[in-house]
């Protein structure tokens, strides 16, 4: 009888523990990508990465690095975007570069939802969230309202980096 009372007494708390553990486990997994990207976007903002404009970077050196595992051989140019306003559209152009370059889009859950390679050519892309503009033939829908656009250019020397910075003058990241 005493054993039975003990089981009854602890059944409720034990069930509560199990339910809380399962709920917290899945909530952590579900929200982790958003939290990580939210912190990354805040960090980028605090480091001067503009919204709806590409920010010309410094060459990656031990003294200038901001993101883990950045490559000193690449030119990185970043643009934060926010498509919260209904009807807004992000228009992005990656200028011409003779060597490897890519234009990649990341949503607010860290997913790389689009990457375009542009070795030796200029590439343009529009991105919308709510609905495509009527005259938009090349637009892509972003999975989330906020995110980051990243241009990578192969620039392993100081001379190549300076040339990449010059090429970046043709880059554009505008909201309209």
């Amino acid at each position: 009888m005493r054993g039975g009372r003990c089981v009854t007494r602890w059944f409720g708390p034990f069930a509560t523990l199990i339910v809380a553990a399962i709920g917290a486990h899945w909530a952590t997994l579900a929200f982790a990508p958003n939290v990580i990207m939210d912190r990354a976007l805040s960090t980028l903002k605090n480091r001067g990465i503009a919204e709806h404009a590409f920010t010309t970077p410094q060459r990656i050196m031990p003294q200038t690095q901001a993101v883990v595992r950045s490559s000193p051989d690449l030119f990185y140019s970043l643009c934060r975007f926010d498509l919260s306003e209904r009807g807004s559209e992000l228009s992005v152009t990656m200028g011409e570069w003779p060597d490897y370059q890519s234009l990649s889009f990341f949503d607010a859950e860290t997913n790389n939802f689009l990457t375009l390679r542009g070795t030796g050519k200029s590439v343009s892309q529009t991105v919308y969230f709510h609905a495509p503009p009527p005259d938009d033939a090349i637009g892509v829908q972003a999975p989330t309202k906020r995110g980051v656009v990243l241009i990578r250019r192969l620039a392993p020397t100081q001379k190549a980096f300076a040339a990449a910075a010059e090429a970046a003058k043709a880059d554009a990241c505008n909201i309209r």
Binding site: A21, H25, P62, V68, P156
Partner: protein, 200 residues
């Protein structure tokens, strides 16, 4: 009520902790603790950059592959040990040798293991890449050491790194590499040459 409150807190703590651990988000866990591909001590996570199906992989990729490209554009291999399985440390000198890689461009970069950042030095010798060693033909060789070696054309400085890892980036990988990495890739060999007297 105290029992229920305690159970709720304990359950929530266990749930959060187990999720962080299983997804590789527990403090101190490194990308090298995971990996879907391993070749001669070099590990890669081909899920990085993809919209992974399961929530554990999604969370792991978010933490360790932030702003990384999908494997169709670039793959990343990392090693923390030399060819005999010993940890890479600043107090030892290494020779790294390799050949052509199954990609359009590649680079080899040294990162401090403690925080995955470039070591804080002013040697301007953080990496080698296909454009710097390519002139030597398919086979190449480089030294990894804390001081610039005499007569060595290609050098990666480990000064200030303490324990470190080497990351191999392969941009625009070949289809063969993506389909069968173990066959398509012969990763660089990292040979320990010598160590300071007090090194392990």
């Amino acid at each position: 009520m105290i029992r229920y409150g305690f159970a709720l807190l304990l359950g929530a703590a266990f749930g959060v902790g187990s999720a962080l651990y299983m997804a590789g988000l527990w403090p101190g866990m490194k990308p090298l603790d995971f990996g879907t591909v391993e070749i001669d001590g070099w590990r890669s996570d081909f899920a990085i950059g993809s919209e992974a199906a399961d929530p554990y992989t999604r969370a792991r990729v978010a933490r360790h592959g932030l702003l990384a490209l999908a494997k169709s554009e670039a793959v990343y291999f990392t090693t923390t040990t030399d060819s005999e399985g010993r940890a890479l440390v600043e107090t030892c000198d290494y020779r790294v040798t390799g050949g052509s890689m199954p990609s359009q461009w590649w680079s080899l970069t040294l990162y401090r293991q403690s925080d995955s950042m470039l070591p804080m030095n002013t040697d301007e010798a953080l990496s080698i890449d296909a454009t710097s060693v390519g002139r030597d033909g398919d086979a190449w060789s480089a030294r990894v050491s804390s001081k610039q070696p005499d007569g060595e054309r290609h050098w990666i400085s480990s000064k200030g790194a303490e324990a470190f890892d080497l990351m191999l980036r392969l941009y625009v990988p070949s289809e063969a590499l993506l389909a069968d990495p173990e066959t398509a890739l012969t990763p660089p060999v990292v040979e320990r040459l010598s160590c300071a007297v007090d090194a392990a």
